[in-house]
């Protein structure tokens, strides 16, 4: 290494350092370059498509279980019973935000568009249970019992009408018609009252799995 290279080395080190320091100084003194948002006071506007916490509008939900089936991490659990008017009635609808990965697949498949992403993103809790969103606050067992009662009443009504219309039919068959509903309700109610949302979800998932 000759003297020229030696001096050039020093010159290069000084020059490149000065170049870099000029850039940092420009950022340092220019207040417009500060881009920090003071978070709790200032917030950015989440975009329209922002995938925040899930929200299910249970009034429009048809309990079709599409969301349950498409969820890759099984974070949605849903329970429903067939109501008196042959429509499904939601007994419980829970989303475990601790598991949810906000992929948005459930929102995309929802036929009535009742499941939506909100723009909410702040949720911290000391207990994992608090991360489970319950969209139906009533106890699932009560709803089931009530629906079962309604179904039974409707069935009894129909039965009575039937009996009036066709009095010649044997009674045994009519009893068979009413039985399955009430039995199902009794079987499902206890685990739910015990606070196990998984059991209901798994039970409800069965038709989907059969298809696979």
């Amino acid at each position: 290494m000759g003297l020229k290279d030696y001096l050039y080395d020093i010159w290069e080190a000084v020059a490149t350092t000065a170049k870099g320091m000029r850039i940092t100084a420009r950022y340092g003194v220019d207040p417009r370059e500060t881009i920090t948002l003071q978070y709790p006071e200032e917030r950015w506007e989440p975009s329209e498509r922002f995938r925040g916490f899930l929200y299910n509008d249970i009034k429009t939900c048809t309990s079709c279980t599409m969301c349950v089936r498409v969820c890759p991490v099984d974070c949605i659990s849903l329970e429903s019973v067939r109501g008196a008017d042959k429509k499904m009635v939601l007994a419980s609808y829970d989303i475990d935000l601790g598991r949810c990965m906000y992929c948005g697949l459930c929102v995309e498949v929802c036929p009535p568009k009742s499941l939506k992403h909100t723009s909410g993103y702040e949720k911290a809790s000391v207990d994992r249970g608090e991360l489970i969103l319950h969209f139906i606050h009533e106890d699932a067992g009560e709803i089931k019992a009530r629906v079962a009662k309604q179904v039974a009443e409707a069935a009894a009504k129909a039965e009575a009408e039937k009996a009036k219309a066709e009095s010649e039919k044997p009674e045994a068959e009519m009893a068979k018609d009413g039985d399955p509903d009430s039995r199902a309700a009794q079987k499902d109610a206890p685990p739910l009252a015990g606070g196990n949302p998984e059991g209901g979800g798994a039970a409800e998932k069965k038709p989907g799995e059969e298809k696979e």
Binding site: P72, G104, L105
Partner: protein, 376 residues
């Protein structure tokens, strides 16, 4: 002198670098055997982040696997999304609308910029300069804003779908992207002035851990790590997929401008230059993007035909290959992912011999590995 050295025998030191170490980019563990500061052997130990992503692929449906590809290389989730979509489309022979392909290319290239920004930023932070890291994050934040507009998430996008993309571009997206490109293009020369050609930085990187072109090919390096060794191999050019043939861009290769060919500095410069090329590609894509649908007709209960397929895409970290066997059901029969970072770790032990501890950090940074991809 020599006699005295023999009289005072020294011991090698065994140091555990990681899995909790600030510059192993996650949970990589390197078992260092050193002679003072000089590394005798550095054996990488991977597997701390294993989540059985390939096995998960066998029990979820094709569409359900899309969010998991986000977790493959979380700094380039769009590229992984798209790679999965292209693989399944290749298997099932789905014709994707052209607009969807253009959108995919735009988001992939934007994500490549974001990923290279993180590579650049974390690399300089490893070298002791923290300011460029913050600048890189600042620019990346704007890309994240764009992605938030387009798909609603900022890290795990899950935007690409088998047969297209989940939603068309939002209003003003292309204008916003152009604004970003205009903002970003002058930043690259600024980075070069700030740090790339800084004497100290160049000295830290030049002639460190040079990988010869033969070794690079032999060890299966891909992406910027391969091109850093002067091998002009880029899947977007050499095995074009999607609409990449429509675009005019250069393949950046290392030239050994400040030292030997294939050293850390070359790998670093390839990334810097690729950001410029990505800007070019996105500009062209914005010019050429056609109108039309963004989603092909794909049945809800999607069942590809029986068969197997291998598809590889040029991701920011190299070649992500997906090997897929279908048995005609809704779930893949077998899924294998060739992760570029994992393959790259193969040469790590060889090239770190005789370097100093500080150089090991430089090597990890210059390879730009990402741990979730290594362990899958």
């Amino acid at each position: 002198m020599k006699a005295r050295a023999e009289a005072l025998p020294t011991q090698e030191m065994l140091i555990n670098m990681g899995p909790q170490h600030p510059s192993t980019h996650g949970v990589l563990r390197v078992i260092l055997r050193t002679d003072g500061e000089v590394v005798v052997n550095a054996r990488p130990d991977v597997g701390y982040l294993h989540r059985a992503l390939e096995k998960i692929g066998e029990r979820v449906t094709y569409a359900q696997y899309m969010p998991f590809t986000d977790r493959l290389d979380y700094l380039a989730a769009m590229n992984c999304n798209a790679a999965w979509a292209w693989t399944v489309e290749k298997l099932a022979g789905i014709e994707v609308p052209e607009r969807a392909e253009y959108i995919r290319v735009i988001v992939c290239e934007l994500n490549r910029i974001a990923s290279h920004l993180i590579a650049f930023g974390s690399f300089t932070a490893d070298m002791g300069a923290f300011t460029p890291f913050l600048y890189a994050i600042r620019e990346r934040e704007r890309i994240n804003d764009l992605f938030e507009d387009i798909c609603g998430n900022r890290l795990t996008y899950n935007y690409v779908r088998i047969g297209g993309v989940s939603a068309d571009l939002p209003d003003r997206f292309l204008e916003k992207t152009k604004e970003f490109l205009d903002y970003f293009a002058p930043k690259v020369p600024e980075y070069n002035n700030l740090i790339s050609y800084n004497k100290i930085f160049v000295h830290r990187l030049a002639n460190v851990a040079a990988v010869t072109p033969e070794d690079a090919v032999g060890y299966g390096l891909t992406g910027p790590n391969l091109r850093g060794s002067g091998v002009p191999f880029d899947l977007r050019k050499n095995e074009p997929y999607s609409v990449y043939p429509e675009f005019d861009f250069d393949v950046c290769v290392g030239t050994g401008e400040r030292g030997t060919l294939g050293d850390c500095f070359d790998r670093y410069m390839v990334r810097i230059n690729e950001m410029k090329e990505s800007v070019r590609i996105v500009r062209q894509a914005i010019e050429q993007i056609p109108e039309g649908p963004v989603m092909a007709k794909v049945p809800r209960m999607f069942k590809p035909p029986v068969g197997e397929v291998y598809f590889r895409a040029e991701n920011p970290r190299g070649e992500t290959g997906i090997y897929l066997i279908s048995d005609g059901t809704v779930n893949p029969y077998r899924l294998k992912i060739r992760a570029p970072s994992f393959v790259t770790m193969g040469i790590f032990e060889k090239i770190t011999k005789g370097l100093m501890i500080a150089d090991v950090v430089a090597v990890i940074g210059s390879f730009d590995i990402i741990l979730p991809e290594i362990d899958r």
